[in-house]
Symmetry: none
Subunit: 262 residues, 2 copies
């Protein structure tokens, strides 16, 4: 019934950031099992309570191969697209925001094009922090009912994952609308593949160094918060060909500043 191949589904990494409740981790693993997504990554500063989650019904295969990370940078290093989920709310967003049906189509096209995608879910209480959002290329939201009395509805973690994964796998061909994946992936094959997250981090570090060396940091400190710089670099959407060019330019700036000082 799925419109994704096994290889495509394997390239989607569900990344739980600071999930607190082992029951929720187990529920996420079960939804992944139900819809055929094997790759679970869990980011926590303290040891992840895998043991309790491993007992979740029907989730043992996903939990057995789940990987723990101590930072989001490590957990997304090999991914070329990082997408955060959000309930929106009052957060000031500088990211493109896609609602679920359109966002799922976009994710399917990326997976079909051979990219490894990280889909981030934040902690049950706070969602993703601004620091965590700064790793994201765009954000995905599940549109919800707007209750008059409640300004910012949010979903249960396991339910949010289940709805997102369901939307990714089910067959739009039986749904009266054609699958747009084919056209998209043929268009994308002309462009260079995107830079992975580790490359974007190196680019961010180099830019930060330039900003300091040129005293930009001192003059425009409001722009120089680390999350701000990371988002600025992510928004340039450099591909695997352009990213080294930009790094070369920044290195040259640093070299020249050093040479002038001598």
């Amino acid at each position: 019934m799925t419109v994704l191949t096994d290889a495509e589904a394997t390239r989607l990494c569900v990344v739980l950031v600071r999930a607190r409740n082992p029951g929720n981790i187990g529920a996420v693993a079960r939804a992944m099992h139900d819809f055929g997504f094997p790759a679970l990554r869990v980011v926590n500063e303290y040891p992840v309570p895998f043991e309790a989650a491993r007992s979740a019904v029907d989730a043992s295969d996903v939990m057995a191969s789940a990987a723990g990370y101590s930072s989001l940078a490590e957990a997304t290093a090999d991914c070329t697209l990082v997408v955060g989920t959000t309930a929106v709310g009052e957060r000031e967003l500088r990211h493109p925001l896609l609602e679920l049906p359109a966002g799922a189509r976009n994710l399917r096209a990326e997976l079909a094009a051979g990219r490894r995608v990280a889909l981030l879910f934040g902690s049950e209480k706070t969602g993703l922090s601004n620091h965590e959002l700064s790793f994201c290329h765009w954000l995905l939201t599940i549109p919800m009912y707007q209750h008059q009395a409640i300004r910012h509805p949010s979903m249960n973690l396991g339910q949010a994952v289940a709805v997102c994964l369901w939307e990714l796998v089910h067959d739009r061909a039986h749904d009266g609308s054609a699958s747009p994946g084919a056209a998209a992936s043929s268009a994308e094959s002309i462009a260079a593949p995107p830079a992975d997250s580790a490359t974007m981090e190196r680019l961010t570090a180099l830019l930060t160094e330039v900003l300091q060396a040129t005293e930009y940091t001192r003059r425009h400190s409001a722009n120089c918060d680390p999350a701000h710089i990371r988002r600025l670099v992510r928004r340039i959407g450099a591909d695997a060909v352009d990213a080294p060019v930009w790094m070369g330019i920044l290195r040259q700036v640093l070299w020249k500043l050093g040479a002038e000082r001598k």
Copy 2:
């Protein structure tokens, strides 16, 4: 975002039959709250553990009006359509079976026609019994991934309800034609508008000046053809907010190089 009116959503009764875990009842109520379905009915032969479920986050309005019944006959008495959910399995089915996307369309049409619909979810362990299925006009199933080793996958109760309700409410009208690329750019983004062409030209000119001042042009002449630099800048796709930031950074590089020379 919903394609259902409030009156239509109110006519859908989610009926939990022999749900055992108050946490699951709370999770169901939360999903109903999230997607705007107020009518929860719970069928149990013994007193329903509402108290524990009432504490579920964001579910208080649904739980406050939840109704308890001691039989399925009573719980569905005022409904003109009764639909059971099932993970299928080996059960000998005597009912028409609809998979979720088609089934949701069917339910929407019934609700729009003014009918009160009962959507039944069975107990976590056993699903709906044959007796309970006998109340149903047809059955609804969420198609799942077929693991080789596991013959009958089933979903967590709260997740199954969330996926069914999501499928009922979201707007298929926005789901037909757009390509993923179009979706990304037409994203309901709180992102800034794109920079205009004149801005991109100014950015290109500034970058060219930096490449010359840092001797990058001399070292990497192959990258420094004017058309090459323009394309590099266009590909960063800077928006109207980021473009001035990048220009500020480049100006600062030029200023610092000048200052170092003095």
